[in-house]
Amino acid sequence: MSDRPGLEHVQVTVNGKLFERDVEPRLHLGDFLRHELKLTGTHIGCEHGVCGACTVIFNDAPVRSCLMFAGQANGARITTVEGLARADGQLHPVQEAFRNRHALQCGFCTPGMLMTIVAFLSESPTADEVDIRDAISGNICRCTGYETIVDAALDAGRVLRGEA
C-alpha cells in the first residue's frame, strides 16, 4: 500500500528501468504506462480486452494492459514497444520485418501486434502460418487484412532461428 490514503504503491521495471508511483487502485496498466510513465507507444483500442492494441510483455507473457490494474503489476518486469529496439537503435527482427513487409498502415494496432508476436516467437520460433494466425487472433487490425503481418512474423521467425 501507499502511504497516501486510497492509493497503491507500484514498483515496476519497464523496459529495464525501475519506476515507482502511487496510483489509484482503479488505474489500469495501460493508462499507467501511457499517462503516468508517458510511454504512449502502448495504445488503448477497446478497453474490454478484445482488440489487443494494448498488449505488453509482462514477465515474458503477452498481456492486455487494459485488463490488468497497475497495482497488480507491482514487482513485475514489463516490456513495451519502446523497449523492443536495442539501445543503439537496432530494431528487433519483428520490427524490421514489419517494415519490410508493409505489415502496418495506420500503426495503431502495431505495438500490440509486435508485442504479441515477439512473445509468441520467443516461445515458438518455428511457428507456421496457421500458428501465427492463431497467435494474433486476439489482435484486431482494420487496415492490413493481416496477411503481411503473418508474412512479417514468418520472416522474423526465420531470423530468430538464424536462418535468414
Binding site: E24, G41, C51, L91, C106, G107, G138, I140, R142
Partner: protein, 797 residues
C-alpha cells in the same frame, strides 16, 4: 523525370516512428495543463429533454465545470453547419453541439464534464441527471415513410430526407421488349468503421493572440476548421486544426461531430486546454455508421444473358441527422450501371430519417451495396438462363474500345458520367485463369463427399479522385532537404511515402532528402480531405506538378550561375551538373541563393524561394475497376463459411507503390469480408444499440481471413499527369458480393437465393433449413444447379 521511385516497392517513410512507439496519435499529445472531458449522452433513441441537473456532478472534487448548451449561449444550442450542404436535402437537420431540447438517437451529447482527470470526468458524467420525456421512435427504416410512422424529429412533416433519382435510356421500352425480366429484393448492411483508434479532439488557446488550436483525429482538418470557424463566428485565420497521426479513418472520421465544436467551446469558456478521447462504447454509440438499405429491383436481359437494364427503388436508412450531406446514398445511386454497358437505368433512392446514429460513408461509401445488388442480379440472370455467370459479365461489360464511355448517368455536379479507361474483360479473364479450370471437378468430388464448395465472382467500378482539388507546396531548403506541405491528411495509407516517391523522381533527389508535412491548416491553406479514394490522384498530381516546377526553376537558376545552357544541365541526387564538366551546384545552394541575401538583387525574372505550389483540380472522376473471385466451403450443418481462396484483379491505373496498393486492396477486401460474414450493428425495437463491444460486433480476425492473391492491371488514367486512380476502396466494393455469390454457389443443391449481407452462420442455417424439403439436411446433389452456377468453367462467347 526518371522513374527511380515511381512504381517501386519503396519501404514506407512513416514506419520507423510507428514501429518504435514514437507515433503521435491524439491521446499521445502532451498538452501542458490539459483538462479532460467526458460527455453525458442520450440514453434514449428519441426524447424531449425536460431538465438537466448538473448540481451533484459540479460539486465533485476535481470537476472544473459541467457544461450544457445554455453555458455556451447561442453557440451551444444552434444547429451545427453541414459539411456538404446540398439542395437535395429536404430537411437539413443536424446536431446541436449539446442537445437541450430533443435527442434523436442514443448517444447524442447533452452535457460535458470537464475535470482534472478522465476518470473524475466520467464519474461526474454518470451522476448528471437528465429528465427525459420519451417520444415515439422510428427504428425500422423500411416503415419510415408510412404515413403514421413516428417522426424521427418531432414536428417534422415526414421522415423523408431526400428522394434521389437516376435515370437514362428508354426504360419502359427496354423492359417491355426484353425477353427476360427478373425481380428481386435485397437487404444490405455495412456496419461501422472501427478504426482501431477512436475519435478524439483537443483544443488549446495559443498563449499570445488567442488563436484557437484544435487537434482532431479527423480525415479532413480543413473542413473541420471551416466549420468550427463558421459555428463559432471566427475568422478561419484564428483557427488552426491539426490532424496528428490518425489511427485509421475509413470514412466516418470525415464528418463534423458535436465534440469538435464542444471541446473548442469549452476551452474558450474556461481558458484552459481540454481534451476528449472517445472510448469504444462511445464509438459504437456516436461515430457515424453505414447501416441498412432495402432494394426492390428488376433486371432486364436478352437471350444471351446480356444485361439490358435495371430499375427499381432503394430505401436508405439515413439515421437521425444529416451532418455530411447525402454521400452514402448518392454513391449507391451513382454506382449504376457499374461495369456494364446498360441501355437503361431507372433507380430511385429514398433517404429516410430514423432515430439511429447518422449514416455517412464507410470505406466504399454507397458503392459496395450497389455493387452487391448489381452483381446479385447478374448472377440471377446467369442462374435463370443456365449460363456461366462469367458469360453474363463478358457479354455485358463496357468494352475496352468504348473508353471513354459515357454511361448515361449524371455526376454530382450534373455533368455526364464518363469512364476514362480500363479493360474489364482482360481483368475478368486473368482472375478466372488464376482461379483455375479444375474447380468444377473439385466441386463435384467434394459434393460426393457431402462437402459444399462454391465459387463466386463480382466485378465493380469505382469513381476515384473526387473533385475539386488538393494542393501541395514543394520547397527546397538551404540544407538541401525538401519539405512537401499539403492539406491532404493521412490515416495510415502511406501518403508521405508516395508523395516522396513522386517528388524524388520529378525533382531529382533521393527519397531520404524529403519530409512531408500534412494535415495541418497552419502549414497549408486549403484542403478537402482524405476521402473517396482521392488523395493519390489529387494531392499526388499536385506534388508532381509542384515538383516539376521546382526542378524547372532549379535548372533555370543553375543555368545562370553555372553559365551553361539549360539543355546541358543534369539534375540528379540533388545536384545540378553541367554535362561533361566538373561544374555543379547543389539544390541547397540554389535554395540559399533564392531565399535572398540583403542587398543582392534576385535573378531577373525569377521569384524568391526554390519552391512551387500547385493545386491539381479534378474536374472529373477517374474510374478504377476490377473483378474478384472467391472460393468458399460451407458447412451446411453449422452454417460456417470458410474462405478457401480469394483472387483480386485490380486496375487503379499506374501504380506508384505496388506494395502499398496491395496493402490497400487486402485491407479493403478484409473489410468486405466483414461486411459479408460478420459485421452487423444491431439495434433493438427501441433503438437501443445491442452490439456495443467486440464480442457482440464481430470484426474479421486473422484466422478467418484468407491470403489475397492480387493481379494488377495498369490502365493509365488520361485525366491526370501521373496516370493514377484511387486504390483505397476498390478492395471493399465487390468483396461482399463476391463472397455471397460463392456461398450461394456452394449451396446451390439447396436452391437457396442469397439476397442479403451480412450472413451469419445462424442465418445461413435458417435459409438452408427452410429450403430443405421436410427437414432433410443433405438432399441429393443437383448437378444441373451447380453447373448453372459454376463460374468460368465453360466459355461460350
Amino acid at each position: 523525370m526518371g522513374a527511380r521511385y515511381f512504381g517501386a516497392e519503396v519501404r514506407r517513410v512513416e514506419d520507423p516512428k510507428l514501429i518504435t512507439g514514437q507515433g503521435h496519435y491524439l491521446d499521445d499529445l502532451q498538452i501542458p495543463g490539459v483538462l479532460h472531458a467526458a460527455f453525458v449522452r442520450s440514453s434514449h433513441a428519441h426524447a424531449r429533454i425536460r431538465a438537466i441537473d448538473t448540481s451533484g456532478a459540479s460539486k465533485m472534487a476535481g470537476v472544473i465545470a459541467v457544461l450544457t448548451a445554455a453555458d455556451f449561449g447561442e453557440q451551444g444550442g444552434k444547429m451545427m453547419p453541414h459539411m456538404v450542404p446540398v439542395a437535395a436535402v429536404k430537411q437539413p437537420l443536424n446536431y446541436q453541439p449539446l442537445a437541450d431540447r430533443e435527442v434523436c438517437h442514443v448517444g447524442v451529447p447533452i452535457a460535458v464534464v470537464i475535470a482534472e482527470s478522465r476518470s473524475i470526468a466520467e464519474d461526474a458524467a454518470a451522476i448528471v441527471d437528465v429528465d427525459f420525456e420519451l417520444l415515439p421512435a422510428i427504428i425500422d427504416w423500411r416503415k419510415a415513410l408510412d404515413p403514421d410512422a413516428p417522426r424521427a424529429h418531432s414536428g417534422a412533416p415526414d421522415n423523408l430526407v431526400a428522394g434521389l433519382h437516376g435515370r437514362f435510356g428508354a426504360v419502359e421500352d427496354v423492359f417491355a421488349k426484353a425477353p427476360h425480366v427478373f425481380a428481386e429484393t435485397f437487404e444490405t448492411h455495412r456496419g461501422g468503421c472501427h478504426s482501431m483508434e477512436c475519435r478524439g479532439v483537443a483544443a488549446a488557446l495559443a498563449p499570445f493572440g488567442g488563436e484557437l488550436n484544435v487537434w482532431s483525429s479527423t480525415q479532413a482538418p480543413h473542413m473541420v476548421r471551416r466549420l468550427i470557424a463558421e459555428h463559432l463566428g471566427r475568422d478561419e485565420q484564428t483557427v488552426r486544426v491539426i490532424a496528428p497521426d490518425v489511427g485509421g479513418g475509413f470514412g466516418p472520421k470525415c464528418s463534423l461531430y458535436p465534440e469538435e465544436i464542444v471541446i473548442p467551446l469549452a476551452a474558450i469558456k474556461l481558458q484552459r486546454s481540454v481534451k476528449w478521447v472517445e472510448d469504444r462504447t462511445e464509438h459504437f454509440l456516436s461515430t457515424t455508421q453505414q447501416r441498412d438499405q432495402a432494394w426492390e429491383l428488376e433486371v432486364a436481359a436478352d437471350n444471351s444473358g446480356r444485361l439490358l437494364g435495371v430499375r427499381g427503388r432503394c430505401v436508405h436508412d439515413n439515421g437521425a441527422y444529416v451532418p455530411y450531406g447525402l454521400v452514402a446514398a448518392v454513391t449507391s445511386l451513382s454506382a449504376f450501371p457499374g461495369p456494364y454497358a446498360l441501355e437503361a437505368v431507372d433507380v430511385k433512392v429514398d433517404v429516410v430519417f430514423t432515430n439511429l446514429v447518422p449514416n455517412t460513408p464507410v470505406r466504399g461509401a454507397g458503392r459496395p451495396t450497389a455493387c452487391f445488388v448489381l452483381e446479385r442480379l447478374a448472377d440471377r440472370v446467369a442462374r435463370e438462363l443456365s449460363l456461366d455467370p462469367a458469360d453474363v459479365r463478358r457479354r455485358s461489360f463496357v468494352r475496352k474500345e468504348q473508353f471513354p464511355y459515357s454511361t448515361g448517368m449524371k455526376a454530382r455536379d450534373g455533368s455526364p458520367v464518363s469512364y476514362d479507361s480500363g479493360d474489364y474483360h482482360a481483368c475478368l479473364e486473368a482472375v478466372l485463369e488464376r482461379g483455375g479450370s479444375d474447380f468444377l471437378e473439385r466441386q463435384k468430388i467434394a459434393l460426393d463427399r457431402r462437402r459444399y464448395l462454391g465459387r463466386g465472382i463480382a466485378s465493380y467500378i469505382e469513381d476515384t479522385g473526387l473533385a475539386p482539388f488538393e494542393g501541395a507546396t514543394v520547397r527546397v531548403q538551404p540544407s538541401g532537404k525538401i519539405v512537401i506541405q499539403t492539406g491532404a491528411a493521412s490515416q495510415g495509407q502511406g501518403h508521405a511515402t508516395i508523395f516522396s516517391q513522386i517528388c524524388a523522381d520529378a525533382v531529382g533527389v533521393t527519397i531520404e532528402d524529403i519530409v512531408v508535412e500534412a494535415g495541418d491548416t497552419g502549414t497549408f491553406p486549403l484542403g478537402i480531405g482524405a476521402i473517396a479514394s482521392r488523395t493519390a490522384v489529387t494531392a499526388g498530381s499536385s506534388v508532381h506538378q509542384a515538383s516539376v516546377a521546382v526542378r524547372d526553376k532549379a535548372i533555370k537558376v543553375a543555368s545562370e550561375i553555372l553559365e551553361a545552357a539549360e539543355a546541358d544541365l543534369v539534375l540528379e541526387d540533388g545536384v545540378v551538373r553541367v554535362a561533361g564538366s566538373d561544374a555543379q551546384v547543389t539544390l541547397g545552394q540554389l535554395a540559399f541563393r533564392l531565399n535572398g541575401m540583403s542587398g543582392i538583387p534576385m535573378f531577373s525574372g525569377i521569384k524568391p524561394g526554390l519552391e512551387a505550389t500547385a493545386f491539381y483540380e479534378a474536374r472529373k472522376s477517374t474510374f478504377a475497376s476490377g473483378t474478384h473471385l472467391a472460393e468458399v466451403e460451407v458447412d451446411v450443418e453449422t452454417g460456417r463459411v470458410e474462405i478457401r481462396r480469394y483472387v483480386v484483379g485490380h486496375d487503379c491505373g499506374r501504380l506508384i507503390n505496388p506494395m502499398l496498393v496491395d496493402g490497400q486492396v487486402r485491407g479493403g477486401v478484409v473489410h468486405g469480408i466483414g461486411n459479408a460474414l460478420f459485421e452487423r450493428m444491431i439495434h433493438d425495437e427501441n433503438g437501443q444499440p445491442v452490439t456495443t463491444n467486440y464480442a457482440d460486433y464481430l470484426l474479421p480476425t486473422a484466422p478467418e481471413v484468407p491470403r489475397i492473391e492480387i493481379i494488377h492491371f495498369e490502365s493509365a488514367s488520361p485525366l491526370n499527369p501521373i496516370g493514377v486512380k484511387g486504390a483505397g476502396e476498390g478492395g471493399t466494393i465487390p468483396a461482399a458480393a463476391c463472397i455471397i455469390s460463392a456461398i450461394e454457389n456452394a449451396i446451390a443443391p439447396f436452391n437457396v437465393r442469397l439476397t442479403e449481407h451480412p450472413i451469419s452462420p445462424a442465418r445461413l442455417r435458417q435459409l438452408i433449413k427452410a429450403a430443405t424439403i421436410s427437414g432433410e439436411t443433405a438432399p441429393i446433389a443437383r448437378e444441373e444447379a451447380i453447373m448453372a452456377c459454376s463460374i468460368g468453367v465453360k466459355r461460350t462467347v
